[in-house]
């Protein structure tokens, strides 16, 4: 425990002066306070209720290097590999913005790019957004607040709607030697009536141990729409810890899609708070993994005001000795009458050793509300499997098809078509490409 504290203290002392905004007193203070907070609390342990099933001792033990490695020649090739069609792109390699690999359209009323660049260009504006930063919820968030060196910056003037989805690609490419850590801080500020769709996409090599410790802060103004997606495709030995926090003003919409396929251990905390009436949110998630992967999703929807609507739908497919944790907390405050909240988490286990801990957590303090939740853990239906095999489809394909059918309820709701197509390839097993005939049926609406 204290080893990690000493390590990051020493790193901070070394690097404080070179971090972005080192000359800005407010930011220096914010970073120093975050480091203090980390020093007090350390990283979470199994004794923390919220981390009961996710053991981060392996992160604690390893002295991660916080100084970003230089981008190497592989970056361009990797970007080409992960690029998605029909979108703007912001690329970060080892935590640093790489303009040459990025592709951004200029749009009046929208500032999109690097947070560090924005800080240098318009420190007052960044301060206005970041000063309201809540105290870090746990040690990882504190480390991020202390060490962040760059991230995505989206600042939309009232009524500005960005049509093309934004693909933010975070690539870790270690240069050998120490295990690197990156601390992306992403900030989305959508003023009244503004709209944007963004995808945070985290990737890295399978043969390196590294840590991504990311934080995303989203402010949706009155009637704004922010559609946030994250695709966690980190390398097999990586650690990935992320917090996404949204604050929604009256009548705004915040959608979140959390997709997790990679990393040895990953955790995504996703929270939104309704700060005005008539807000809506949809939280979707899909985690798919085998081996000894560990996925943790902790979500929080805070219905603090009346007439809010929330829909939450998470699914998981686990093979091998993979393990998943889902905790979906929904709070309906005393004032939040006419709240409509629905939550479900369904899991498909493909092996006997795979394991899920799923927990819906509804805290309802208002009386005129509609809330429901459900959680299931099941296996492939042997009768369905036999039916497919009896039609000549081999066992492996039958399983792959049934896994796709299970995941389809999430995949189909992904509006961003290039991502939806990419997901088919990330699901386990191969299915025959029946010449454009989609395996997925149109959803039954009833």
């Amino acid at each position: 425990m204290s080893a990690a504290r000493e390590h990051y203290r020493a790193q901070f002392a070394q690097r404080e002066a070179e971090l972005p905004g080192a000359t800005l007193p407010w930011l220096r203070r914010q970073r120093a306070e975050a480091l203090e907070r980390f020093a007090e609390r350390g990283l979470p342990t199994l004794r923390d209720e919220d981390w009961k099933y996710t053991n981060v001792a392996a992160i604690e033990k390893r002295p991660f290097e916080t100084r970003p490695a230089a981008a190497n020649g592989l970056a361009a090739r990797e970007v080409a590999r992960f690029a998605l069609d029909r979108c703007q792109r912001v690329v970060f390699v080892n935590g640093r913005f790489v303009p040459e690999l990025s592709r951004l359209d200029a749009l009046a009323g929208a500032t999109i790019g690097s947070l560090a660049a924005a800080l240098a260009r318009e420190p007052g504006r960044v301060e206005a957004v970041l000063a309201a930063e809540p105290a870090a919820a746990h040690g990882f968030a504190a480390l991020n607040a202390a060490f962040w060196s760059d991230g995505l910056w989206i600042d939309l003037a009232p009524g500005t709607v960005v049509e093309a989805p934004l693909h933010a690609l975070y690539l870790t490419l270690p240069d050998g030697g120490a295990s690197p850590a990156t601390f992306p801080l992403n900030v989305v500020s959508a003023a009244g009536g503004a709209g944007v769709t963004l995808l945070e996409h985290y990737v890295g090599p399978d043969d390196a141990i590294y840590l991504t410790d990311a934080v995303t802060r989203i402010v949706a103004g009155e009637g704004a729409t922010v559609r946030h997606m994250r695709l966690q495709q980190e390398g097999r030995r990586a650690f990935h810890i992320a917090e996404v926090g949204a604050a929604q003003a009256t009548g705004s919409r915040f959608d979140s899609l959390a997709l997790a396929f990679g990393a040895m251990l990953s955790r995504a905390g996703i929270a939104t708070r309704f700060d005005g009436e008539g807000c809506s949110t949809e939280l979707l998630g899909l985690y798919v993994g085998d081996g000894r992967r560990h996925f943790d999703h902790h979500t929080l929807i805070d219905h603090a005001h009346p007439r809010g609507v929330s829909r939450e739908f998470y699914k998981g497919v686990l093979d091998g000795a993979a393990r998943a944790v889902f905790n979906g907390r929904v709070v309906v405050r005393p004032d939040a009458q006419r709240t409509d909240a629905l939550q479900a988490n369904h899991n498909l286990l493909l092996s006997d050793e795979a394991e899920v801990d799923t927990k819906p957590q509804l805290e309802i303090y208002a009386d005129d509300v509609k809330c429901s939740h459900g959680a299931t853990v099941g296996q492939i239906d042997p009768v369905q499997r036999f039916y497919l095999r009896a039609r000549g489809i081999d066992d492996a394909q039958a399983q792959a098809l049934l896994v796709r059918a299970f995941a389809a309820e999430i995949v189909e709701r992904v509006r961003f078509a290039p991502l939806r197509a990419r997901l088919q390839g990330l699901l386990p097993g191969q299915i025959a490409d029946e010449m454009g005939v989609s395996p997925c049926a149109e959803p039954v609406t009833n």
Binding site: Q384, I393, A432, V444
Partner: protein, 264 residues
């Protein structure tokens, strides 16, 4: 085509089939009748290769090979088709995808090229017409939300597309209205030819008015208690199963008595 010898099958340790003998030649249609719980579906499932049905004795040869040694998909590739008594709903898998994947798996096994999208659709439309089915059902999830009759038609649609050598229809007529029964019967009759054999599991003479069987067998207490020609079905319709069950009880381990024409 199909030779079943002394087939004994247990499910969860409980003997269900207790010495079935049956011969089915190419070109023939056999009906299997018998009281509820006598083992008709068990026989059908064992032939299709369902897990959990333990063959404790006997053998099944299909076109000269040991059928029981094949995986369910291999049996399908060899031309065995089971129309399920209870067609399975598969939410999320499009009916048309299943049809196409099934047909292409079969063609691949036979060393034939996959059908292209145009030819496939032409074929399926043709069969849909035969089954008087709405094309919209193709794009829905397999059997999900289908009415009982639609599910049964869908089984026969699959059969019509896959053109099996040996089709086993487990109570495909149950739950069909009078018009649908004719449609399904037409679908089956369209498939009837000297190269194919069909097993019809049914409770009703009505289906056999439309598809006249070569042989009728009565399954009782896990054995073929009686075999005969089409007139046996009419006799059953009139007399019920009581008399056969009583005989089966007395008959013990002896060969099934023949009714009507001489046994084979």
């Amino acid at each position: 085509m199909l030779e079943i010898r002394n087939l004994h099958v247990s499910v969860e340790g409980k003997p269900i089939l207790r010495g079935i003998d049956l011969d089915l030649r190419a070109g023939e249609v056999h009906a299997i009748m018998g009281p509820n719980g006598s083992g008709k579906s068990t026989l059908a499932h064992v032939l299709a290769g369902r897990d959990g049905y333990v063959v404790t004795d006997g053998e099944v040869r299909y076109r000269g090979q040991d059928l029981l040694a094949l995986a369910p998909e291999e049996r399908a590739h060899e031309g065995v088709f089971l129309a399920f008594q209870y067609p399975v709903e598969i939410p999320g898998v499009a009916n048309v995808y299943l049809l196409k994947a099934a047909l292409n798996a079969l063609r691949k096994h036979r060393g034939e090229a996959e059908l292209d999208a145009m030819d496939f659709l032409a074929l399926v439309r043709d069969k849909l017409g035969l089954m008087e089915m709405d094309e919209a059902l193709l794009y829905r999830a397999v059997n999900q939300g289908f009415s009982g009759g639609e599910k049964k038609r869908n089984e026969i649609l699959q059969m019509a597309v896959l053109e099996p050598r040996l089709a086993i229809l487990d109570e495909t007529d149950s739950g069909l209205d009078i018009d649908a029964l004719k449609v399904v019967a037409n679908g089956v009759n369209a498939l009837r030819n000297p190269e194919r054999a069909i097993v019809l599991v049914t409770h009703y003479q009505r289906l056999l008015d439309h598809i006249v069987p070569d042989r009728v067998h009565v399954l009782a207490q896990g054995r073929i208690a009686r075999s005969g020609g089409p007139e046996l079905a009419r006799e059953l319709e009139a007399r019920g199963y009581g008399w056969i069950e009583a005989q089966a009880g007395e008959g013990g381990r002896e060969a099934a008595p023949e009714a009507g024409e001489a046994g084979r």
